[in-house]
Point group: C2
Chain length 192, copies 2
Amino acid sequence: MSERNAGLRTRLVDVGVELVTTEGVQALSLREIARRAGVSHGAPRRYFPTHLELLSAIARRGFEDLAARGAAALGDGTESPRRQVATLGRVYLDFALTHRGMHELMFRHDLLESNTLGLRDASLPVFGMLVDLVGRARPDVDARLVAGALLANLYGIAQLWTWGSLQLITGADDFTPLLDAAIDAHLGREDR
Amino acid sequence: MSERNAGLRTRLVDVGVELVTTEGVQALSLREIARRAGVSHGAPRRYFPTHLELLSAIARRGFEDLAARGAAALGDGTESPRRQVATLGRVYLDFALTHRGMHELMFRHDLLESNTLGLRDASLPVFGMLVDLVGRARPDVDARLVAGALLANLYGIAQLWTWGSLQLITGADDFTPLLDAAIDAHLGREDR
DNA sequence: CACGGAAGTAGACACTGTCTACCAATGGTC
DNA sequence: GACCATTGGTAGACAGTGTCTACTTCCGTG
């Protein structure tokens, strides 16, 4: 079933992904991952010299997963760029709220700031997609600036929503109005 | 000079604030704070039963500080609501980038989610100000929704800017265009 | 067969947060 | 004034953590 001989390196990351989605980010201690992988606590050091690097590798899986979900949702890309941005935003918010632990890990300060294993760079493809779509949806503006602002908006909604602040402020119980508001704001209101 | 007999409770928080701004958030161990306060490692427990509560008290100072800076920048409030929102946004981004450690602490997941010491509630006054101003700047829209979206946008810009992602995406080296873009987006472009 | 390197083990070290037993002072009451 | 209880802080223990280092085990190659 699960490939027990898949090489310790990938097995450690597998265990980490499993662990962060089920138990949360505070369960990702080096020793616990090693235990669940069935090896001693010193074994991971062979592949990940430091705890941070192992965490970065796990977070990287999150970015890859997110990118895959985005690509799958876009499909053949026949929708209008505007709607593709909307679906991307929804996919991202769904992901962030469903996989809270993983999302939290992906955007941890110490991971991104140290840029271990090029984690920050690994997150760029997803963003590149967004810049491209924004450019096609609004050819009249600085696409990189608008895409950056929109991305920040989506990220902020994801975070503030997870700990309930936005529910308190807006009184909403679904993030859809916020998502629509953000996209309308940055891409202009659409006549439907 | 510094009040050494100010009561251990506030002195611990003082030390924590000092420590997080100079050394960063990872330096905020319970024992280190106790050491710098000149007491044993068990002493804080009398006032803060758990490490998390002490951290929350420190973060709370951050929110109070931020609110004070906002109020000071607004002054007598003679500016147009639109401009007041802009100054508030600038104050917040300046704060976030100048006091990175404190800002990181203020929005730590485990603190906000557990809402220890009502930390999440302590952050609401700042947000209330924003809702009010947005309502006066754009009486035609759902102020709470727009304010929430704008707030999320500001927060996202602060975060993504601190670890350099937005610089990579937008190519900018100053956050002003992003701030302007966000405010224009949510409040509508202003004829200047 | 010998050897060398790769892979993993096991123990030590310093450090962390929490818990518990103790101690010293302080102040109120009889 | 003697007693006692409460408050505020100390000190040591405990389990857990990340990192480092010495050691074993195993396998392929010469």
